[in-house]
Symmetry: C2
Subunit: 222 residues, 2 copies
């Protein structure tokens, strides 16, 4: 909290509607104020710069992960963390998939909340993050716990690479050619992948991997 007892928030979301909602919601809370808004990561960095120059840096950045255009939330978070005396970044997003959460945490976010959280919970999260605390949505917390307890379940880089080719619609033979290995090798990898993802065919593997954001859906932007 600042000396004035007000937590100043920088909103980053590409949807005008969502920004309006957060603005209305947060402004209605005691002790929280909107410092500025941005519609993508690049703009957020600019705003941060501007506010710092004015000697009024925000106490917390409320950041969406999915951004239609411009710099995405993960990149923006990482960039912000590179600054000197960076403000805590609280992720507020729609999805709670493994890779989203992992990517956010790795980028240096201090919290991960979902947009469907009730207002009061959101308020608490903002205050906690601003105070230097960590705040995680239940799923996010569970995922991180699971990661440290049994790390053997995650895919190897090679397997991820295979999944990416798989998702483009290539056959085993085509994948084998691309990777300069035999078709047998591709099959072996696939079996391992199926086991780790808990599926039993390639389309399900793509679906699962996409869902967990292990891979990016073809033609995805943001």
């Amino acid at each position: 909290m600042t000396s004035a007892g007000e937590v100043r928030v920088l909103l980053v979301d590409d949807h005008p509607v969502v920004r309006a909602g957060l603005r209305a919601m947060l402004a209605g809370f005691e002790g929280i104020a909107i410092a500025a808004e941005a519609s993508d990561g690049r703009a957020a960095l600019k705003e941060l710069d501007r506010l710092s120059a004015l000697g009024e840096p925000p106490d917390v950045v409320l950041m969406d992960l999915q951004m239609g255009e411009g710099m995405d939330g993960v990149t923006a978070t990482a960039e912000i963390r590179k600054l000197s005396a960076p403000p805590p970044v609280l992720i507020l997003t729609t999805y709670d998939t493994d890779a989203d959460i992992l990517a956010a945490v790795e980028a240096g976010a201090s919290g991960y909340m979902l947009k469907d959280a009730p207002p009061e919970q959101l308020r608490q999260a903002v205050l906690q993050a601003a105070a230097g605390g960590t705040v995680l949505a239940p799923r996010a917390a569970a995922l991180l716990m699971d990661r440290v307890s049994n790390p053997g379940t995650s895919l190897t880089p090679r397997e991820v690479q295979l999944l990416e080719l798989l998702a483009t619609g290539l056959s085993n033979r085509a994948i084998a050619k691309q990777l300069f290995v035999s078709e047998a090798t591709v099959k072996t990898h696939l079996v391992h992948i199926y086991g780790k993802l808990g599926v039993d065919n390639r389309t399900a593997a793509i679906a699962a991997a996409t869902q967990r954001r292990i891979i990016r859906p073809p033609g995805a932007n943001g």
Copy 2:
């Protein structure tokens, strides 16, 4: 417009933040008022019932398609259209995939707008829909135009539906069960789909369909 010169809107969205945003945004417009809010399709129908009983039905329903729990937007739209003297339903959603657009139009929506639309555009859309007009996002309009001009090239609603199940990783047999048809029928559809998309296997079909935004990548929910 009503005799009072006010367009009364029923908001349907499962996210408190989005509802707050729409509320703030619409309430700020001249001639638009919020009649009621609902967090899912079922609740929307109830609200509609209640308002009608009061003799104050809304002039337009602003509906999200993706709803985390409860009745989804497409079903709700279809249900609303079954009522006597149903209000126009304006879809306001995050995605502009063929599948979403087609489903909404088939359900009887009078408009399809995206959440990232600028406020002024949203205002216009609400007024137009309330006045009995049709309002479409650019991509939605283009899709429908394409539909009528060359119906042979584009996928049929049934084929799109199949693609969606395909993308979730289901086998032909599983898809057949879901759709209450035989496996042979599924195969026939798939062959047609492959032909139209210019591919020769299911994973490539998923990739192509995702890329062309015919379907939403698996795992993209509310």
